[in-house]
């Protein structure tokens, strides 16, 4: 899992840094050098997709996603465990569908040879961001479920769940 943590963070950092450099380079070139690098926006928006879905996985691991915990907080440990299982199941439904159809999407784009409009790159390479992110989300959802269940088993009583 340590390697996965590291991998996720490096992806996020690299994606965000490249996005920033490209976007800033574009501003500079357009205003100063009078050349537009705006075709690079294809790269930027797909890195943005990568950032979003890999970031979502990190968010799952760090319990960062917004939610309503008031009712949960007032439940006894057994119900809490059931709700944790339920949440996990729901997360797996969403991320699982995203993963499965994400792979289908990439395979289809590969199959028909779809290219990006401006750069003419294979679309599937850029679209892979989605299934990669979804895969990490699936892994993290399961990991967090195990973590929370064991936390509830050891601490048992009321109090904040891992935050």
């Amino acid at each position: 899992m340590k390697i996965l943590n590291y991998l996720e963070e490096v992806i996020l950092f690299a994606a965000f840094l490249i996005m920033t450099i490209i976007a800033f380079g574009n501003v500079v070139s357009r205003n100063l050098a009078n050349i537009s690098l705006s075709f690079t926006e294809e790269i930027t928006i797909n890195l943005f997709v990568l950032l979003t879905f890999v970031g979502t996985a990190v968010g799952v691991r760090r319990y960062a996603h917004l939610g309503f915990t008031l009712i949960f907080d007032h439940m006894n440990p057994l119900f809490k465990k059931l709700l944790v299982l339920f949440s996990t199941l729901m997360g797996l439904v969403l991320f699982g569908i995203l993963l499965w159809y994400g792979i289908q999407m990439v395979l289809f784009q590969m199959d028909i040879g779809q290219t990006t409009p401006a750069l003419g790159w294979p679309q599937w390479v850029l679209s892979s961001a989605l299934p990669i992110g979804a895969f990490l989300c699936v892994v993290r959802t399961i990991q967090v479920c195990v973590e929370e269940l064991s936390y509830l088993s050891t601490s048992g009583r009321e109090g904040d769940e891992a935050k």
Partner: protein, 441 residues
């Protein structure tokens, strides 16, 4: 029937502690399968992908990144010091300082919680030192932070423009300019509310006037020095707004320029060792971005169903069948949004409610920009209303109060903000005056 299933399932999941993004996605998936069979699922991935891969939304990660950088390079402390030299010596001066700094930081940051995080760390302890209760201090910062999404730049307005853009073009620039006066009005309302709170606490003997805390009036020279220190920070709104309205940058470009500027200030002016923390800053901003964008992504599927299954039309027709009085309809819309804002975040609310409400607004001939502004003010209130209010959580954390205490403290500010909300709703000129004056379309 389909509407009931969609909304019922969504709120059920939210109450069962399923994260909002997942609740949006799963309730949508259930309805899609119900309506179109398993075949409907293929759309989910396509919509979730395209809703993120939008150039206009690129401003969001950059404004978030800019906000995180400003927080790390110490710009907020210098802004606060400068505001202190201006009004700190007055009675209730710290209230003014808080709100003024909140407004300034709002003009740097595009998000509410980021504004709270950036200014709360210094201002909440300062207010407590000046005799205010912890929950009052936390509540004022939580509510003032909400101005962050009303005054430009604003992530909320960007999302509004994108979602409303499916029906009618609304430019981000016009929304940005339209938010300025309502944002300042919110600030004024919070100052008045805080002074009333202080007056009442003094009267009932709850206000502990601190001994030996006489703050003398700053000299002109001190003000000048503080101004110079704060100048790099004060320049940011000038760069962002001046850059956009001067025709140099698009909003997205302005955001990325703010990022680079912030890094330069951090490295050269404030001499913070920015390079070593760059990694941390980017990861933190990426995480905040993902939390927003996964909601955008999942909420788009929700909005897709609302539009394609004619749910929006049914509900709009229902509301308009109920009454045709525009004043009452606007009131109902605001009440609906306030309730929604108590439980869900602004981004989800845009995707869920704009498809339903915008046709009504267009029918009533409400300027879409005005709708954008009052909807945003409304959802800004949602940032500090319990039970789910991001600003409230952040401020409670900083002020070391719990959510129940701070919820009590925030009531006067909710009332103050609702008064502003009603003004902005019923006096469209509050929004349109500035953009019309400057001919921003």
């Amino acid at each position: 029937m389909m509407a009931l299933m969609l909304f019922g399932l969504f709120f059920l999941l939210v109450f069962l502690r399923v994260p909002i993004a997942i609740s949006l996605g799963v309730s949508s998936i259930a309805v899609l399968v119900y309506a179109n069979g398993i075949f409907g699922l293929e759309m989910v991935t396509d919509i979730m992908y395209t809703s993120v891969a939008k150039f206009t939304l690129l401003a969001i990660p950059f404004f978030i990144l800019a906000g995180v950088i400003m927080e790390h390079v110490g710009i907020s402390k210098r802004l606060i010091d400068f505001a202190q030299t201006l009004v700190g010596h007055r009675k209730s001066g710290i209230i003014f300082v808080t709100v003024i700094v909140a407004i300034f930081f709002a003009a740097i940051s595009g998000s509410g919680p980021a504004t709270v995080a950036a200014i709360g760390g210094i201002l909440i302890p300062a207010m407590v030192k000046n005799g205010y209760k912890k929950e009052t201090a936390g509540a004022l910062v939580a509510s003032s932070g909400a101005i962050g999404i009303v005054i430009p730049p604003s992530i909320a307005f960007i999302v509004f423009a994108v979602v409303a853009g499916d029906q009618i073009p609304v430019t981000i620039n016009r929304l940005f300019m339209a938010g300025v006066i309502p944002g300042i009005l919110m600030g004024i309302a919070f100052v008045i509310a805080a002074m009333i709170v202080r007056y009442r606490q003094e009267k009932s003997g709850q206000f502990i006037i601190p001994g030996g805390l006489e703050i003398r009036k700053a000299t002109g020279k001190e003000r000048w020095t503080a101004f110079l220190h704060a100048l790099p920070g004060l320049m940011i709104p000038v760069i962002i707004l001046g850059g956009i309205y001067g025709g140099f940058f698009t909003p997205t470009e302005a955001a990325v320029v703010a990022v680079v500027y912030g890094l330069l200030v951090g490295i050269f002016v404030n001499r913070k060792n920015a390079f070593s923390s760059i990694y941390k800053i980017f990861i933190e901003a990426a995480l905040q971005t993902a939390v927003v964008m996964i909601i955008v992504s999942a909420a788009s599927v929700f909005a897709y169903i609302i539009t394609t299954e004619q749910i929006a039309r049914d509900i709009s027709d229902g509301i308009m069948g109920f009454t045709s009085n525009p004043i009452i309809i606007l009131l109902l819309v605001n009440v609906l949004l306030l309730i929604a804002g108590a439980f869900i975040d602004a981004i989800s609310a845009y995707y869920i409610f704009i498809p339903i409400l915008l046709p009504i607004m267009l029918f009533l001939e409400v300027d879409p920009t005005v709708f954008g502004v009052f909807m945003t003010v409304n959802l800004a209130i949602g940032l500090f209303t319990p039970p789910v209010g991001l600003n409230l959580y952040v401020a409670a954390g900083i002020s070391k109060t719990n959510i129940v205490e701070i919820s009590r403290g925030v009531v006067p500010f909710i009332i103050a903000a609702i008064i502003v909300l009603l003004m902005v709703t019923y006096i469209p000129e509050l929004s349109t005056f500035l953009p019309d004056l400057l001919n921003v379309k």
